[in-house]
Amino acid sequence: MGGIEVSKATRPFCFTAYGIAKKVLHDRLLKLEERVDGFSATHDMSPTPYRSSIDQKNASLVVKSQIGQASLLGVELELINRESSVMYHPSEMDSVPENRSFNFGPHVVESSVIDSTTYVRVKS
């Protein structure tokens, strides 16, 4: 499987709902920290991604961030958040109500979020 999915929220083009979903997830992580020995989470609502990929053909952008880590029976685990967005060119589409910009070196990419998925896997 590569990892076990623990949460999934599809909130296309709506940062308000997306923000609510993220808050619920972080509340859940707080509870896990209280209940599970050795579990710690990153409570930065926008952690720095460690990987990103762009599908030029479909104009989609996927970013992955580590948002938590834990130890279970001596096995190191990590919690990964995967967010996908669609990209657009702002000069052609200037009235998208909610967007997010990414800085790829000198290039700025405008995107609108589609969904956020979190899964747990053995730490690599």
Binding site: A9, P12, V86, S95, F102, S112, T117
Partner: protein
């Protein structure tokens, strides 16, 4: 390095207070005795969709076996829900940004199908292992219920 540099949100969508039933469904009563192989094969039927119970519910481990509202396929219901959300959130820009919305729709459908396939494959492997190592041992009620809830995507961590 990739960095977030800006978040713009002028969203004026009305977020209605979502009414969620927090009660996790039960699939088996105390008297039902099942083996692991049976628990992996039993029909899954729910009165609510998993995301009606938990806003952040993961994709069910056994998505093709799950039915809701007495017969609707989870696969179809979840797809309709996500596409409806997309259209309601983009209603104000639908006329001018049709291509963008179509790309988003395709991305949602691709992810939905990909995750369902992945989970279905994982459960198939689990079933094969269970069949090979079959002991015929009856599971405790708690364990059997846990298997059913994981298959339905409503088990709590």
């Amino acid at each position: 390095m990739l960095k977030y540099i800006k978040v713009k949100s002028s969203c004026e969508h009305t977020i209605q207070q979502e009414v969620r039933t927090k009660r996790v469904p039960r699939f088996l009563d105390e008297q039902t005795k099942v083996t692991l192989e049976q628990a992996l094969e039993m029909p899954l039927s729910m009165s609510h969709l998993p995301f009606d119970i938990d806003t952040l519910s993961p994709t069910p481990l056994d998505p093709y076996a799950l039915t809701v509202y007495g017969g609707v396929d989870y696969a179809l219901a979840a797809r309709s829900y996500m596409i409806d959300k997309l259209h309601s959130n983009t209603i104000s820009i639908g006329d001018t940004h049709r291509a963008l919305i179509e790309r988003a729709e395709q991305e949602i459908l691709d992810q939905h199908f990909h995750r369902m396939q992945k989970n279905d494959e994982a459960l198939r492997q689990w079933k094969e292992v269970a069949a090979e190592r079959s002991s015929g041992k009856v599971l405790s009620h708690r364990d059997a219920e846990g298997v059913m809830q994981v298959r339905a995507g409503v088990a709590q961590p």
